[in-house]
């Protein structure tokens, strides 16, 4: 790891990208709820290696919601945009043309069918 000001990107306004800078034993956990769903970031576990991380992630993040598959990845491999770069994401002009209504409708349908199937499994 590098040392010096780059380790403290919050003090470095010029830098828009940085490694997450977590401890080496932190693993990010991604849960896939159903086959063909995307893996979604669920949280972290502490573990000395990938196998243990998967074992511990199973009980930490899949006890309630359905899961068919888990990913773990060393959190210190994740790079992030700096907090100070948040401005970059805020639109300055009208971009309503990007919000295709049909996409939203599609997503709503997908989510409602997901919830319905989850309720069935839950019974």
């Amino acid at each position: 790891m590098t040392s010096g000001p780059l380790d403290r990107p919050d003090r470095d306004d010029a830098r828009w990208e940085r490694p997450l800078g977590t401890a080496p034993d932190v693993w990010a956990v991604f849960v896939q709820g159903r086959h063909r769903d995307m893996h979604v970031y669920a949280g972290d576990v502490h573990a000395p290696d990938a196998e243990m991380a998967l074992v511990l992630a199973k009980e930490s993040y899949t006890r309630r919601d359905p899961c068919v598959n888990l990913w773990v990845v060393r959190a210190d491999q994740i790079h992030a945009t700096a907090q100070t770069a948040a401005d970059m994401f805020v639109p300055a002009i009208d971009k309503s043309y990007r919000f295709g209504g049909s996409y939203r409708q599609q997503r709503r349908v997908l989510q409602s069918s997901y919830k319905a199937s989850y309720r069935e499994e839950d019974q």
Partner: protein, 260 residues
């Protein structure tokens, strides 16, 4: 639908099978209680959560087997679980021993899970419904328990510098009690003769040793040679169980008629 016990015509086979169900339920209840003592004290928060979760599942399995008996006999499940004298419990001594360090609990979990999976398979093959079906379903959860235990055992046994010695000491301490899981009583003979069980305690024990040996080998652990310490299957327990039972039943005993 008749219960699993009333469906057995021969009263001595029925009594023997009841004995077996009590044994399974008691094993699960007692180990579940011991695991639950790690809640808040695990080596890290993730393993604390996992061990607590395993504890809940073992208690749940115990409950499922008690229910089979209670439904059949029209008795109260809490009374069955909490309302007996110590000598009426049929778990093996392995399960009642105090948690003497994380390494002991992990070693015990490894040894017990290997036994538990094989026993559930025996019950599943017994043809005694609905218990056989229940055993098939419960096997699903035991897989994770074994995985958790073996993953931890490997890390502990490979952890320098004092890890291997401490794990070996825990294994040596647990071994005689683990062999006690296979203590044979007249119930086993009866069920073997009736064809409900397809494997004798001695044969189960050999199969169990064959199952745990490669796990222990991989961890560089020596298979202990000590003889079995028995008694649990006949209701003879150690002082550790008196303490456990007093604590576990404290709330229930405060008002045995209460509905929770």
């Amino acid at each position: 639908m008749p219960g699993v016990l009333t469906a057995i015509a021969d009263p001595s086979v029925r009594a023997a099978f009841r004995e077996w169900l009590v044994r399974i339920a008691d094993d699960e209840l007692v180990i579940g209680h011991r695991h639950s003592e790690w809640t808040g004290f695990g080596p890290d928060i993730e393993s604390d959560v996992a061990m607590s979760s395993i504890a809940q599942e073992e208690l749940g399995h115990g409950r499922a087997f008690y229910e089979q008996i209670a439904q059949d006999e029209g008795s109260d499940i809490d009374r069955l679980a909490f309302g007996r004298a110590p000598h009426e419990y049929r778990h093996a001594a392995l399960l009642e021993q105090e948690n003497d360090g994380w390494e002991y609990s992990i070693v015990r979990l490894v040894l017990y899970e290997a036994f538990e999976v094989a026993r559930l398979r025996l019950v599943a093959a017994s043809g005694q419904e609905p218990v056989a079906g229940l055993a098939r379903i419960l096997t699903r959860e035991e897989r994770y328990h074994g995985l958790f235990a073996e993953t931890w055992l490997t890390r502990l046994a490979g952890g320098p510098p004092e890890g291997p010695g401490r794990v070996q000491a825990a294994l040596d301490a647990a071994w005689p009690d683990a062999l006690g899981l296979f203590e044979a009583t007249s119930a086993d003979d009866m069920l073997l003769r009736a064809g409900v069980l397809t494997s004798s305690p001695a044969a189960q024990r050999e199969a169990w040793i064959d199952a745990v040996r490669p796990v222990l080998d991989r961890c560089g652990l020596a298979l202990p040679t000590a003889a079995a310490r028995e008694g649990g299957r006949r209701g003879e327990h150690t002082p550790a169980f008196d303490r456990l039972l007093a604590q576990m039943t404290e709330v229930w005993r405060s008002d045995p008629e209460a509905r929770w």
